[in-house]
């Protein structure tokens, strides 16, 4: 029998990319993701640009006057020349929307009061808080006879600059947020891909069985080639989708860079934080995780002839798929702990190893061990799948018992 896996690959690939869900998913997902990110940014930006009026009742020594100088132009301070009670009454009568009460003892107590119809504007309130603190501090330093320069010096606030030190390289300036963000994104990408593409193996295998095509297939194509063809066809469809998304992202970033020159520095900073070797590991773990889970789904597909039965058996497999998400937080907080090392070596949780590679220096022995365990698990799956596939593809009707399954493995 000639190697006919390529015919199966072709069929699987074309079949997949012609489905409505693929076409819609490919086009809509980036827009959907963009909306998720763009809407809050847009809303925030619009909110920030909106001029809001803040009334105030100032019983202090004209702290409001200094406040006006320090606040951005989007926050307009309007005096309300009356006492607190009258201002509250005006607020109740909807004459005004809010007011800030600056008491006489503000320089001692550091407290002021804010009254409003809604108290959701926390960002601007905290801005007022920090400006008032600063004004009070400046005034107190002035009273002690310090010069403006000295005061500025004293009121400097601290800012962390982060460096990553590895065995091979000296300190390298890196943003903790960015490297965590990239590692998180890559692990998430693996998890998303596995979850959306690996079950396709199950669907496709059940389809062959429910359409009664399986026996014609196995009579001309070796079961291992059918499985190999399906795996590579499905993987290719997944890669094809990522290529389209990559192209869309590239075009989007290029356009954005031209339209908003300010965004250039953000992308350049991102590019500076990316470690090329991380992407090689990403490719490796991506492929191995896909195989690891797709084979499981393929085996489940061969075991059942009914989608409903298969779906029940799929649930534990999907739970294993999403298990790494549970350990995201502990592993990212302490990537070098014994727990993190141990858990990331488990083949089904190996995406956590990629996360550790992204945010810390992982000894090559651990990486080697992790890849070795993954390959071993995949090899065992391939062996099992080959045996279950041959008999399972031709078994219709009732669900196999554990005993039957064992005999399939023994006799396949």
């Amino acid at each position: 029998m000639k190697n006919k896996w390529f015919i199966i690959l072709k069929k699987e690939f074309w079949h997949l990319i012609k489905t409505k869900s693929f076409i819609l998913g490919t086009i809509l997902t980036p827009f959907f993701l963009m909306l998720i990110f763009a809407i809050p940014i847009y809303m925030q930006k619009k909110n920030a640009e909106k001029v809001r009026k803040y009334h105030y009742v100032d019983h202090s020594e004209n702290i409001a006057g200094v406040l006006k100088e320090h606040l951005p132009s989007t926050m307009e301070m309007i005096p309300w020349n009356s006492d607190k009670e009258k201002a509250i009454a005006a607020l109740r009568n909807k004459e005004i929307k809010n007011f800030i009460y600056l008491p006489e003892d503000i320089f001692e107590s550091y407290n002021f009061e804010y009254y409003s119809e809604t108290i959701s504007d926390s960002q601007r309130i905290s801005l007022i808080e920090s400006v008032i603190s600063r004004v009070i501090q400046e005034k107190k330093f002035e009273e002690r006879g310090l010069s403006r320069g000295e005061i500025n010096q004293l009121l400097l606030s601290a800012k962390a600059r982060t460096f990553e030190v590895t065995r091979d390289e000296g300190p390298k300036k890196k943003s903790a947020d960015v490297s965590f963000g990239i590692a998180y994104l890559l692990v998430f990408l693996i998890y998303m891909t596995v979850l959306s593409w690996a079950p396709q193996m199950l669907r496709s295998t059940i389809e062959d069985k429910s359409n009664r095509v399986a026996e014609v297939l196995v009579s001309h194509v070796k079961p291992s080639h059918i499985m190999g063809g399906k795996l590579s066809g499905t993987a290719l469809a997944g890669v094809f989708q990522y290529l389209i998304w990559g192209l869309m992202a590239f075009l989007g970033i290029t356009l954005l860079k031209q339209a908003l020159p300010a965004s250039r520095s953000v992308f350049d900073a991102l590019a500076g934080n990316i470690n090329p070797s991380l992407f090689i590991f990403f490719g490796l773990y991506f492929l191995m995780n896909f195989l690891l889970f797709a084979l499981i789904f393929g085996i489940i597909g061969a075991m059942f002839s009914d989608m409903k039965d298969a779906q029940n058996a799929m649930t534990p497999a999907i739970l294993i798929c999403i298990l790494p998400l549970l350990f995201f937080a502990p592993v990212s907080q302490d990537p070098t702990s014994a727990f993190s090392v141990g858990i990331s070596l488990v083949p089904f949780l190996s995406s956590l190893m990629l996360m550790r590679i992204g945010i810390s220096e992982v000894p090559s022995l651990q990486i080697g061990l992790s890849i070795g365990l993954l390959l071993l698990t995949i090899a065992i799956e391939v062996w099992l799948a080959g045996r279950i596939y041959r008999i399972g593809l031709l078994s219709y009707g009732k669900k196999p018992t554990w005993k039957e399954l064992f005999s399939w493995i023994k006799n396949g």
Partner: protein, 296 residues
Amino acid sequence: MLLQLDNVDKYYGSFHAVKGLSMRLEEGKVYGFLGRNGAGKTTTLRMIMDIYYPEKGEIKRFFNPDEVSYLPEERGLYPKMTVTETLDFFGEIKGMSRKNIRSVSPRWLERFDLAEWSDKKVEALSKGMQQKLQFIITAMNNPKFLILDEPFSGLDPLNIQIFKDEIVSLMRQGTTVLFSTHIIEHAENICNHVTIIKEGEKVIDGPITEIKEKYGKMNLFIRYSGDGAQLKNGMEQKIDDYGSYAEVILKDGKAYAEYLRRISQQLDISEFRVDLPSLKSVFLDAVNTREEENEK
């Protein structure tokens, strides 16, 4: 020689599905593979197709894998593929080049009245049309060896006729056909050679005419007047007497002339008809004999 099975055994767990089966298939003949449901026909065909492996024995194939075509009993098509895509996919799987597929498929579609449907999806075709398409993908690679598992099951009467005609025409072109069926009449009219299996074991194997001669007994249909007791003269094996009409099977199936001579001396015979045994009677006889032997 096209195919040779030597003492092939197949087990499913503790179930002995095929027991020491030997078969020889010569090129250019039509072989019927008969047996009741569950007798081991499909298992044997799957072993011939290298889908299942025998535990014991040997299967020698004198053809290359792309020269054989197999129509399983469980058969279907991808509903979302168009007719053309279906022909392309299954043709390629059977080792045909795309060019070859495109050159032969119009003729096949024309012959089965499917030419207008080539761009339609399989799910849009009627069941009868899907059956025709199924046959096309089985035969389009012009196989040297065609294996059909219950080819007529589920077919409408019109398609049974069309399928039969196509099988005969392939046979005339020199294709060796091996088909399994539990409907004996189909085999009787098409096959040169039959193999009957029962519970995984071969019971009868040989050219159809020889089998009928060897295992079959002539049926005598007699219309008479007179004393029916005169029908019994020691030559008969079984008599089914209705008073003026009787069906008789003789111990020596070929001695009907002598039997007629003897009874016509005693009775007034108005009709005496000799019928060759049907394959069905051979089949039932063989299976029942076996059952009796087993009971003993």
